[in-house]
Each structure stands twice: as C-alpha cells, then as structure tokens.
C-alpha cells in the first residue's frame, strides 16, 4: 500500500503552548485518491492542513511527498515541491485580474512557467472551472463561488501532485454546491490526488474514497465514508454520547 502513497503523514503533532491541537496523526494519501479530513469544529483539521502546507511547523512527526521529506520546510518550498492549497476563507488577489490570479499558480509553482505559456494555462483552467470569458474581470466584482473557482484554478495552475482543499464547498448555496461537487468529481476523474477538509456530508459521501476523522486533535477513525460515518465513536464526537 505504501508503494503508491504520494503523501505520507507520520506521527504529526502540533502543540500551541500546553494545547495539543494535532496529536500523533498518521495516514497516507494514494495517487488519484480523494481523502476527506472530517471532524467536529476545533478538532484540528485546518491546523493539520497548515502543517502539511508549511503555514505552521510541526512540533513532532513528518510529512513526506513521495519519499521527499517536507517537514519544517517553509510554505514556498512546499508549494514548489508540488502541494497546492485553497484557504478556508477564500483568498483572491484583489488587484490582479482573474487571469493573473490563476497565472500566479503556474508562474511560481513547480514548473515555473512564465509569459504567454502561463497565460495559456490560466486561460484553459478558467474555462475548466467555468469562468471562460471572464479573464479580465476583477475578483472583487465576482460572486463568492466565482472567487472560489479562481482560487481552485490558481491551485490547479501549479499542476500539483497533491491538492489541499480547506472547506472549498462551504458557504455555497444548493445549486452552487451541485456545481462545486461536479467540478471536484471531474478533477477526480482526471486522476488528481486531493486531500479535503469538509463539513458537507453529501459531498463527503459522493466524493471521498476514504475519510480520516479527527476529534480533539487525535485520529478517531479511518475508512470509507460509509464505514466512518456509521462508526459509533464518530457519531458520538459529532452529536454527543446520547445519539451514539
């Protein structure tokens, strides 16, 4: 199994003073897989994502991409190694056009594409996420889902080996949610490897091959969505002991 693991997280911990936000987490993400990272609010999902993307340095443990050690590297080195991410609260670049926003991913990512070539990649990706023809629009004048599309296209422009999505589907209305799920499904179909933090259960059921459940910083369960979502401990963690 570990032969096809692209991303390996081993014994990863993060302490903020006396608080263990992430406690000895280990799991693998395999090529072409969508892994869901779920758990109640405050269980450490985003912190774990921040440890993988380099926004935070782990207190203990390691993160490896294929066999390459990424633990403790600054975010720009991790991005260049092939891990791209979106942010929980959407982060577009307000003074750049939609096209330029997406070009950022291609220009400073692992392939360091520049000029007309980066523009061509960005144009194709805008088309892909449903923003064809909006190249020169400014992100501030766009709707929330369109800003999220830009962010996704920017992450994809780096042609990452692993894509980290932090609640990319949060805050979308039901119609937008369907579009969003279809978009991620199409990424799955083309063989992208994705690790996604998500709360939307429909999305987790329909998209994820596997789920890692976290509670209070620790790994509670791992398995297919059906398995983990019927697990008593998982239900107890989400809803309290009475419901389990």
């Amino acid at each position: 199994m570990s032969s096809t693991a692209i991303l390996s997280v081993t014994g990863l911990s993060k302490a903020f003073g006396g608080l263990l936000a992430v406690n000895q987490i280990s799991f693998d993400v395999h090529r072409g897989e969508i892994v869901g990272l779920i758990g109640p609010n405050g269980s450490g999902k985003t912190t774990l994502l921040n440890l993988i993307s380099g926004a935070l340095a782990p207190t203990q443990g390691s993160v490896r991409l294929r066999r390459r050690e990424l633990t403790g590297l600054p975010p720009h080195r991790i991005a260049r190694a092939g891990i791209s991410r979106s942010f929980q609260l959407v982060r577009v670049l307000p003074s750049l056009t939609a096209l330029e926003n997406v070009m950022v991913g291609a220009t400073f990512g692992p392939d360091a594409v520049w000029g007309a070539e980066a523009a061509a990649i960005a144009r194709a990706l805008l088309e892909r996420v449903g923003l064809g023809g909006r190249e020169n629009a400014m992100p501030e004048a766009m709707t929330y889902i369109d800003q999220k599309r830009i962010e996704l296209a920017r992450a994809l422009a780096a042609d990452p080996q692993v894509l980290l999505l932090d609640e990319w589907l949060a805050g979308l209305n039901p119609t937008e949610l369907r579009i969003g799920i279809a978009l991620i499904e199409s990424l799955h179909a083309e063989g992208r490897t994705i690790l996604m933090v998500e709360h939307v259960m429909d999305a987790i059921r329909s998209l994820c091959d596997r789920c890692v459940v976290m509670n209070a910083g620790s790994k509670l369960a791992e398995g297919s969505p059906e398995q983990v979502l019927s697990n008593h401990e998982v239900i107890a963690a989400y809803l309290g002991d009475d419901h389990a």
Partner: protein, 313 residues
C-alpha cells in the same frame, strides 16, 4: 498587460527619452538658481522613485532613506581622493546594497509600524556609529570633500540616476519579480503558498532601492564640500522622500515624479517667503493634500484623464 511591449509603452519610452535629452540641456541655459533647483528636483526624483520601487508594492514604509543617502556620501569622503570616480560610485552602490541586505534580513519579518520605526532607528544608529568612529578614531567629526565636479556634471549624473531608477522600475514590472511583488502586496500568505520566497523578493528589492539611494548620496556629496553625520544622515531626507512619494502616489512608476516637482517648488517658494515658518506651512499643505488627494497626484491625474476621455467619447 504583462508581456509584449504595447504601443503605450513605446510612446512612453520615446517621450521620456526626449524629455531627458531636453532636460540635459538645462545647464546650457542657466547655471545659477535654476540649475540648483533642478539638482534638488533630480536628486529627489531619483530617491523617491527608488524608495517607491520597494515601498510601493510591498507597503513597507521605509524611513531608512537617510541611512543609504548618508552612507553613499561617506563613501565619497573616504575614497574620492584615492580612487577614480566610477569606482567610488560602484563602491557607494555596493555599500547601499549591503546595508539593505543586512537590515532586510534582520527586519523584513517585522511588519507595519514596527518596520517603520526600525528603519528610522537604523538611520539614527548609523549616524551615531559614524559620529562615534570619527570622534574616537579619526579625532574630528567633519570631513572635507575635495572633488572637482561641476554643478552641471552633478546634474547630469542625477538625471542618469533618474533614468536608471525609472528603467529599473519598468524592467521589474515586466519581470517575474514584479509579478511576485504584486502578489506579495495583495496577500503575503497566498504568495508564500503559491511558491514565492517572499523574504528573498523583499530583500532583493530593498537592496536595489538602497543601492540607488546610496548612489544619489554619492553624487550629491561634492555639493556639500564639508560633511558631518548631522548633514549626511539628516532624517528630514527620509521624511521628505516619503511625503513626496506619497504625494505623487507610490503605486505608479511615474507617481513619485509628479509628487517631487510640486513639492520642491512649493518648498522653495515657502522657504523664500516665510523662512521662519517653512516646516509649519509645509506640514499644513501636506495635511490638505492627504485630505483632498488621498490617492496621490498620479491617481488624481488618472481619474481626471479618464473623465476627459469619457466625456469626449
């Protein structure tokens, strides 16, 4: 916007080359008051443009201008009698760049007001160090500068520096470095997570900016004849450069240019008419400008230009 040179850019290059050639002819017409005024304007245009190269896109307000300017001047006082002039200039640029490198590595992790205060403290620290060195080691605080350079030659060199600063800014804007800077200015977190080494980009820009300002200090040094730390590291230089660049607008390459010219002219006029209240009146003018033209003269001009075009179209 980023790639092939557009017609507008070609026009801008041709127009600025012509303007430069025209300005270079000024010493032939007058070598007194107007030349002195032109030297003052050219030195501030070069410094404010160099300042905005770094501070415009990164939003790090640097008050270290005097540190670079003064160090450039001191390189001249130390080397001018022994080394040929081009070597002196190269040495000044290197000192400026190294100073920026050292401070950049130490301070660019600071943000906002902390960086402002540190950069100001740096200029003061260097001034005190030079004073200490001179009183302890050389025994006298001041130094004479004996360089036989005419005012016209200083003016031409400053014009050259203005051209270099503007060309450098233009070249950066078209490069990956310039693209990285725009991303950093918008959102540093996104920049880092997209693969930009934000610390390196900022330090590199600070070095380019520091080297250019040190060069202005070196070229201006012979004007002083006699320098001491109080003169070379005058903090007013730092403040005036910031005010001029903000007055013009630091988001456009030509912004500082349109800020410096009215500021220097106004300064001359007020200093001539009200010598005892110069800074008071300048301060009041600056308040009014910030209140009524917050986006700088360049932003105001662009808006006016769009309005004119909109009405005629």
């Amino acid at each position: 916007m980023i790639f092939p040179m557009q017609r507008r850019e070609v026009i801008a290059v041709v127009a600025s080359t012509a303007a430069l050639a025209l300005l270079a002819g000024l010493p032939l017409a007058d070598d007194g008051f107007w030349l002195a005024l032109a030297i003052s304007i050219a030195s501030y245009v070069a410094m404010a443009t160099a300042w905005a190269l770094f501070s415009g896109p990164t939003n790090y307000v640097s008050l270290a201008t005097a540190a670079f300017f003064g160090s450039g001047a001191y390189v001249v006082s130390a080397l001018a009698e022994t080394a040929p002039w081009p070597v002196v200039l190269v040495a000044a640029a290197l000192v400026g760049a190294l100073l920026a490198l050292a401070t950049g590595l130490a301070t660019l992790r600071l943000s906002g007001v902390y960086f402002v205060i540190f950069s100001f403290g740096l200029a003061e620290l260097i001034r005190q160090l030079v004073t200490y060195y001179q009183t302890q080691v050389t025994g006298s605080v001041g130094r004479y500068i004996f360089v036989t350079i005419s005012a016209s030659e200083i003016y031409w060199q400053l014009l050259g520096l203005c051209a270099i600063a503007l060309f450098t800014g233009w070249a950066i804007q078209r490069s990956r470095l310039g693209f990285a800077l725009r991303v950093i200015g918008d959102d540093e977190t996104v920049a880092a997570h997209s693969g930009i080494d934000t610390a390196r980009v900022k330090v590199l820009l600070f070095c380019i900016s520091g080297a250019l300002i040190a060069l202005v200090g070196a070229v201006m040094a012979p004007r002083f004849t006699y320098i001491e730390p109080q003169i070379a590291y005058n903090p007013m230089v730092s403040f005036q450069v910031v005010i001029m660049a903000l007055l013009g607008g630091s988001k456009r390459l030509w912004g500082p240019l349109v800020g410096v010219i009215p500021f220097v002219l106004l300064h001359e006029w007020i200093a001539g008419r009200f010598p005892n209240h110069t800074h008071l009146l300048l301060g009041m003018v600056f308040l009014l400008v910030v209140y009524f033209v917050p986006q700088g003269v360049s932003g105001w001009l662009e808006k006016a230009w769009r309005r004119i075009r909109g009405e005629s179209a």
